[in-house]
Symmetry: C2
Subunit: 123 residues, 2 copies
Amino acid sequence: MHALDVLGDPVRRRILELLADGERSSGEVSSVVRAEFGISQPAVSQHLRVLREAGFASVRAEGTRRLYAVEAAPLREVDRWLDRFRGFWEQRLDALGTELARGKRQRRLDQERGGGSGTDAET
Amino acid sequence: MHALDVLGDPVRRRILELLADGERSSGEVSSVVRAEFGISQPAVSQHLRVLREAGFASVRAEGTRRLYAVEAAPLREVDRWLDRFRGFWEQRLDALGTELARGKRQRRLDQERGGGSGTDAET
DNA sequence: CGCTTATATAAGTCAACGCTTAAACGACGC
DNA sequence: GCGTCGTTTAAGCGTTGACTTATATAAGCG
């Protein structure tokens, strides 16, 4: 299952946003999501399971509570999928240099060959 | 409809990948996708419509053909949504300094918390 | 030990969505 | 004009998947 399939759900996105601020228990996530989306606790638990199984979140038991935390890998995968489109909005900012460093580093990590072939937007 | 809802479909993702290489006609997209996914031409057309209406693609008529091109805005929106998670995989590269400037600023804006301020779990 | 709290799982229902076939639309050539 | 190609739209069907209620598990506490 592709990471983006998992992100194709507003509840799951919201859960990840919550986890982005730090570890949260299932109950904490549930109460927020329940309030915002009006769905039941089991529904939230099911979404947490999807996130878990897709590698977006890890769990840690603390007593009877389950503490969830963001796991980077699939999100990074999405980020890398976006790479091929970055040229469409970064092409004009090349002069800014620094801002683009991230993208450039990304490419450098990806392939270290010294071709200097530009950001694929080389019209 | 959130951009990530649209990307939650493998066919649409593949179409965008094709368009990332440059303008393509509906027919060109269709034949590739048909081959790869085994779906009909109208099905592809419907996906193109979704991409169009969500702002992921723009169309240009050339004779009887419709030439599709990637439109950046919604993809950028996704990229910005990912910003809040960048810290989870970029944190170790802090030494690179300048490279990370954007990401760090983002995190600072998002959460100003130092270490255990109000995460609720009292530990 | 039960009772409660925190969470997960099971089973079943219902709507959304993607697909198909069929038809419409518009440009082109004869 | 008429047939045809490229493409979109319409209508209907089927499946996926998100939700609900009910139940299970498991820890904490009296």
